[in-house]
Symmetry: C2
Subunit: 453 residues, 2 copies
């Protein structure tokens, strides 16, 4: 609760309501804090390491390595060290510049994100060495979080990062779907598409995953370094062929895909391969985890609750209409939940930029909602980026309620004009209705809260 | 159920599912059928007329008049005659051309819609005469349904329909809000803004309302002929002034608003006026009534149900994303309702036309949903226009399911291309997945059904 700007607590009735809302937001963020998330899923008792519902007898393991990539990687590694202490043999995590953490054994390597750089490649290469050196009787703990895809970039020998960039832009230009792009990438990477598990085999692999992908599909998060790949070299090659890119792409890439198709290079590991009998993937934090924590807290505070969906996507201002429609129905008929009601939804919206203002998808959602619920004094809608950074702003989101437009009008602010100009930040800022948390060190996308008192 | 095209029942598993869905749609439409709706809210026993929760002792009434306007007016009047028989003294209903009904005493006057014409004006003028002639001991039953605003158009003396059209286009051009436009219109009408109740006073007035406005605000439906007006002449004049239209508008209009502002002309009747002690407004059919009937039927068929909202608005393809997100969550976690699940939502979406295809908002919603739930074999999403006419097509809507894109692909149809071209009709037509009901004679906007088996 203390993470929130005290200006959010207005006087009077609004204050009382916000004092009930902010703990719900806090509960959601606490549940997906990387350190909390690791510790909730991992504990050491009498040399038995409990991870999820599995138990690893440390008497049987010679080395424990910690590798991985992502913006929460430093915090996660620190939590691992706090649990495992001297049991950690060595490790290396790639994280984004500025995301250093105070670890003892595991080296935190800061690197480029979202564009991979040489530092990241060096780190990824060392991770590959660690995994390849690990063997029977070793345990490799892989920590994956938001940004993991860029931060675990290491193309196969002979293919440069520039080649990979040329590939991606050519595919995007042809209108290739993201899963098509990913299946090609997996076949050009030393790490992705299950390759990390294969490198580590026969060592045991445990991947602790903090998911920033809607729906948490394991093969998509960081392109699934420890997850069976369902696509083949033949398919990857076929996609390139279908888009007529065989002549246009760097020859290193086309050659690799051709060799793979012909069987000269081994396939990415598949479902059922022995490799995965030694791999355990565990999502320790996700949008769903945050949403469920919010629901639990809201229940505890006396709200009638509804977890609507953790798959919400679409244009922010339109999604706002859907949430507002639910708020209106709750006020009107006590459906789909009765008052005091708390509906929680998660996902990630998008904003089609038409104006020149400052904002983010969550602030824009809140602004559009404020217009929809104008005068609906019982209603309050909060939109929150769980990483604490909504768009290119220092806000995590904003709070809209039935009084927002009235209060804005008193300050000469037009909600419709600010919305038309994608200028949600400068609408909420003077009202003191921005949610400012600072970076939360985690990212499980966005949450929206619809409350009716 | 027989109202649906038998082609909707595919073979195999899909058939079984659709056989469970179509009765839910039928239940919704049955509940808002104008004749059913009147009869469910009105009955005659021992000369006691029960309307909603009120009772009118017919021994005390000399005359019963039936007036009103709207596309369902003919059917509603017919139902009234079937209940009241010879008790009906006289009446006149304005309805749209082609919406005649077989009544005995009440005259059904066909007229222009959505643009009012001379026939409509003559009818409205006769309604006003009937209301004005009614007095203590008379009962005026007013039947209001979709199209009622255009079909009950009668400006005050000295203002022509052309003047009113000039007013509306000038206001729209200035970006005036619809409630601003309506408050001016109410002050220029002999019928709207409660004026019909005042004309009939001291006769008793009962308005039976079939709502085609999202949320069913009584003062908005047909501009509230029997509902207190919350706006004033001063406000109406102020709006015209604020938009700088005092010099531009027809002088008849400006003069009338000025006189009203100065108090020379009486205000529209307000909340608390004696007039309304003799008026009873009853919504007999609405989106909510349809949605609740669907929910009841679905429960009866063993579904876990959720009435999400009857206030859904927004761009059809975006709204589809929200519904699809709920379908995905139900499949993923059994939230917010468990399987077999039936989520019902109502409202009215819009379509921003960018292509040149054929379709309607419901068909477009279903098309966008089909893309979202591709491969989600447990899910089915139906979008339905309750009037049976979705956009300029002969379809009421369409059915999307996890197999839609696969079946379309087999026929060489691209969902994305059809969506980009607003061509939902030609996407679903070859699949046999259009819902064809023919005109239903009612209109309570749209319903969407999200089913997960």
């Amino acid at each position: 609760m203390s993470i929130f700007d005290s200006r959010l607590l207005k006087s009077g009735e609004t204050k009382e309501r916000r004092e009930r809302v902010l703990p719900i937001l806090s509960a959601a963020l606490d549940a997906v804090d990387p350190i909390n998330a690791v510790k909730r899923h991992m504990s050491l008792e009498d040399n038995e390491l409990h991870i999820g519902h599995r138990v690893y007898d440390l008497n049987k393991y010679r080395n424990i390595y910690v590798i991985g990539g992502g913006k929460a990687g430093g915090s996660m590694a620190k939590a691992i060290e706090e649990i495992l202490g001297h049991h950690v043999t060595a490790g290396l995590i790639n994280t984004k510049y500025g995301h250093r953490a105070d670890t003892k054994t595991v080296r935190i390597n800061e690197a480029g994100h979202p564009i991979p750089d040489a530092a990241g490649m060096r780190g990824a290469s060392q991770m590959v060495d660690i995994a390849a050196d690990a063997t029977e009787g070793d345990l490799v703990i892989c920590l994956i979080s938001g940004g993991g895809s860029a931060l675990m970039t290491l193309p196969v020998e002979g293919i440069s990062v520039a080649d990979m960039e040329a590939l991606t832009s050519a595919l995007l230009r042809c209108g290739a779907a993201i899963n098509e792009i990913n299946s090609i990438r997996k076949h050009l990477s030393q790490i992705k598409g299950g390759n990390l598990s294969r490198l580590a085999y026969p060592a045991e692999v445990v991947s602790l995953i903090l998911s920033d992908v809607v729906g948490s599909p394991l093969d998509v998060i960081a392109s699934g370094p420890t997850v069976p790949d369902s696509s083949s070299f033949a398919q990857a090659h076929g996609i390139v062929e279908r888009y007529g890119l065989l002549d246009e792409l760097p020859s290193s890439i086309v050659q690799h895909l051709s060799q793979g198709k012909e069987g000269t290079i081994p396939e990415t590991p598949k479902e059922g391969d022995a490799v995965f009998s030694k791999t355990y993937n565990l999502v320790i934090a996700s949008n769903e985890v945050a949403a469920r924590a919010a629901i639990a807290k809201a229940k505890n505070l006396g709200f009638d609750t509804l977890l609507l969906s953790t798959f919400v996507e679409g244009e922010a201002r339109e999604v706002a209409q859907a949430f507002s429609a639910i708020a209106k129905e709750i006020v009107h008929s006590g459906q789909p939940v009765s008052r005091p009601a708390c509906v929680v939804a998660g996902g990630e919206t998008t904003v089609t930029i038409r104006g020149e203002g400052k904002g983010g998808r969550n602030q824009e959602l809140a602004l559009a909602a404020a217009i929809q619920i104008e005068g609906l004094d019982e209603a309050l809608i909060v939109a929150l980026a769980t990483d604490g950074t909504d768009g290119p702003t220092d806000a995590a989101g904003a709070i809209a309620d039935g009084s927002t437009l009235r209060r804005a009008g008193a300050k000469g602010l037009s909600a419709r004009e600010h919305l038309a100009n994608n200028d949600s930040y400068h609408f909420f800022e003077p009202l003191g209705d921005l949610i400012i948390t600072g970076p939360t060190n985690t990212n499980v996308n966005d949450l929206t809260f619809v409350l009716v008192f």
